[in-house]
């Protein structure tokens, strides 16, 4: 039977919470644990994975969807990260502007990417149709929140749609930029309580990533945190989350 990769979508509703950075870093952490990883830049148009990593894609996503270019030809191999990237640069705008058929096409392309064990989807900001559909279609949804109230309400909005679209699914909460571990737990509990009370949904905690200046440093240098600052707090946090995700996958 052909390998069917596990699709892990990363959403937040709000922008700037660290989705793209986290997706990149998780991709490397998962790849380091063994098992090929593909990172799909679902923040189409903004092409933020390319930018954060300083990569220049050779092919547009549209060429892959139309069949002119194969998936293997279109992916970029990150030389140090040990994972592949499918750029979202398409000229067709963001995922939210994509027509439903193209969204389904992307999903089946990713589901059929049998060369990978894990496909990470960086869904970009917003709650538009395409984002909503991909969040619901993923095997696991990681909803990222920070302690900011606006991030909490946006993360809650993501969970609300998810509760409606894929109630039985596997959605987890990830807190990023936490001042301390305890503060991150409090942020999780706040969001969890809202989900339990209003949505009758009790999402588990995927993990907490602490705020760490090394993150901004790595991004500024267009390099990977696990390469540049492999022993910093945020690196350890992401590695712990990767371990937790792998465990659940094996179980």
């Amino acid at each position: 039977m052909p390998n069917r990769p596990r699709l892990i979508a990363i959403a937040s509703g709000k922008g700037g919470v660290g989705k793209t950075w986290f997706a990149i870093t998780l991709a490397q952490a998962l790849a380091a644990r063994g098992g090929p990883v593909l990172l799909f830049d679902g923040d189409l148009g903004l092409a933020n994975v390319d930018v954060q990593l300083g990569l220049t894609p050779q092919h547009e996503l549209g060429s892959v969807l139309s069949g002119r270019v194969s998936l293997a030809q279109a992916v970029l191999r990150h030389p140090e990260g040990g994972f592949d990237i499918l750029p979202g640069s398409s000229g067709s705008g963001t995922l939210s502007g994509l027509d439903p058929a193209s969204v389904e096409q992307i999903l089946s392309l990713l589901r059929g990417a049998g060369a990978y064990d894990t496909v990470l989807l960086d869904l970009g900001a917003g709650l538009e149709r395409g984002v909503r559909r991909m969040a619901a279609a993923a095997d696991t949804l990681l909803t990222i929140a920070t302690e900011e109230p606006t991030s909490l309400t946006d993360a809650y909005a993501v969970m609300k749609l998810y509760a409606n679209d894929a109630r039985q699914g596997d959605a987890r909460i990830l807190v990023n930029q936490a001042t301390t571990h305890a503060a991150g737990l409090r942020t999780y509990e706040t969001l969890r309580r809202a989900c339990v009370s209003f949505l009758r949904l009790d999402p588990p905690l995927a993990g907490i990533v602490r705020r760490d200046d090394r993150v901004r440093d790595a991004i500024r240098r267009q390099s990977l945190l696990l390469v540049r600052h492999p022993t910093c707090a945020a690196a350890a946090d992401v590695e712990a989350i990767a371990a937790g995700l792998s465990q659940r996958a094996a179980a």
């Binding site: 069949g67 439903p100 058929a101 389904e104 096409q105 089946s108 149709r129 909503r132 559909r133 619901a136 279609a137 109230p149 909490l152 309400t153 809650y156 909005a157 609300k160 749609l161 509760a163 409606n164 679209d165 409090r186 509990e189 706040t190 969001l191 309580r193 809202a194 009370s197 209003f198």
Partner: protein, 389 residues
């Protein structure tokens, strides 16, 4: 969800502010000590429900596109067949009709180009009716073509039916006046050139005299425009449905689909193999979809073709006989006969090929259609062929 943070020197004051601003329905999501005292995170959820999930849209299946291209399905039909299960798409896109050959139905005239499979279709429909215990009246209006009568007679003989020859509207009318009560009527028409006005005029006169339903017999595998033209010409001359033939031999069904669509002629029956009893089946969307798809699945197609050629299991129930029992030359209870070599199962005669039209059979040769250890029955009193003209 509305989310608000409230800070106050103490808990009671903070809670009072929450109630004042969010009301009694406010939910406390969290509290934490801060420099000024305490911070409460509270939320209010509006009752407004979530917009229904964007249902995954039906995505055009690239393999479907390949399938439609392979069958040379006309461009105009492709959007309607592009997605969803093929049988359901066919059901929506094309007309289908279940042929009802009841005793009180109007006579059924089989028309079409020479060699389309009209005579074979009449023979198969007659066989189906006899097996169902309902002996039909079989008429051939094809008196011109050498051997045409004998070809059909060889079959009606096997079924114990009398073949009536009537090729002129007047004689057809006369023959039908003697239609046995409760007998469905099948009329084999001469092969016609659909674009010859004289021939089509004659066909119309025949159909009018019989007050019959005209079914166009159309071989699968014809080129798309050819098939569509043919169907339209016949529809303009009164054809009401399509009987497709050679589904087992043709590779591409675009012509068939084009004919049904262009002429709005419902698909009724399909010739799927050489058997007399099982070589014709009602043409349903499911049957058509299965056969179309089998053509692109190499292994499945091969298996399907083998299955087409294998004799089907014999009907489990013995033919029911209503009204006058049809006379049968073929012993359907071979176990009753002494066997010198293995008896073919009853199914094998049902699957027997049509007598070779190039070698017209005589009464005494009918049994040669299959190996038969028992001698022929004594000469029959009743006529095999009756000339009405």
């Amino acid at each position: 969800m509305r989310l608000r943070l409230f800070r106050a020197p103490n808990m009671a004051e903070a809670m009072a502010r929450v109630r004042a601003e969010l009301g009694d329905d406010a939910l406390i999501l969290g509290t934490r000590p801060v420099q000024e005292g305490v911070e409460i995170t509270a939320a209010l959820e509006s009752a407004a429900s979530v917009a229904p999930a964007a249902r995954p849209p039906v995505v055009p299946d690239p393999r479907r596109a390949d399938l439609l291209a392979f069958h040379a399905v006309p461009e105009t039909l492709r959007p309607a067949l592009a997605d969803g299960p093929l049988d359901q798409a066919l059901r929506r896109a094309l007309p289908f009709h279940r042929l009802a050959l009841t005793g009180d139905a109007r006579p059924l005239l089989l028309v079409g180009t020479p060699g389309a499979g009209k005579t074979l279709t009449v023979a198969r429909l007659a066989t189906r009716l006899v097996l169902a215990g309902c002996a039909p009246m079989v008429i051939t209006a094809d008196a011109k073509r050498a051997g045409a009568t004998e070809q059909l007679a060889a079959f009606t003989r096997l079924l114990g039916l009398t073949l009536t020859v009537a090729s002129h509207p007047v004689t057809v009318g006369r023959a039908l006046a003697r239609r046995p009560p409760g007998a469905p009527v099948l009329i084999d028409c001469p092969g016609t050139d659909a674009f010859d006005p004289t021939q089509m005029e004659e066909l119309r006169a025949l159909a009018a005299a019989a007050d019959g339903t005209v079914a166009l017999v159309l071989p699968a595998g014809l080129q798309v425009e050819e098939a569509a033209d043919l169907a339209q010409a016949h529809a303009a001359n009164g054809a009401e449905m399509l009987v497709a033939t050679r589904l087992d031999l043709a590779r591409r069904f675009g012509g068939l689909l084009a004919a049904a669509a262009a002429a709005s002629l419902p698909l009724a029956e399909a010739g799927i193999g050489p058997g007399a009893a099982d070589g014709l089946v009602p043409l349903t969307p499911e049957e058509l979809a299965r056969r179309m798809e089998a053509r692109l699945a190499p292994s499945a197609a091969a298996a399907g073709d083998v299955a087409d050629r294998l004799p089907r299991p014999a009907p489990t129930a013995a033919p029911r006989h209503h009204g006058p029992p049809p006379r049968r030359e073929v012993d359907t209870h071979p176990t009753a006969a002494p066997t010198s070599h293995p008896m073919p199962p009853p199914a094998s005669w049902q699957a027997a090929a049509m007598p070779d039209p190039r070698a017209p059979l005589h009464a005494g040769q009918a049994a040669s259609v299959r190996p038969r250890p028992t001698p022929m029955p004594a000469p029959r009193a009743r006529q095999d062929v009756r000339h009405a003209e």
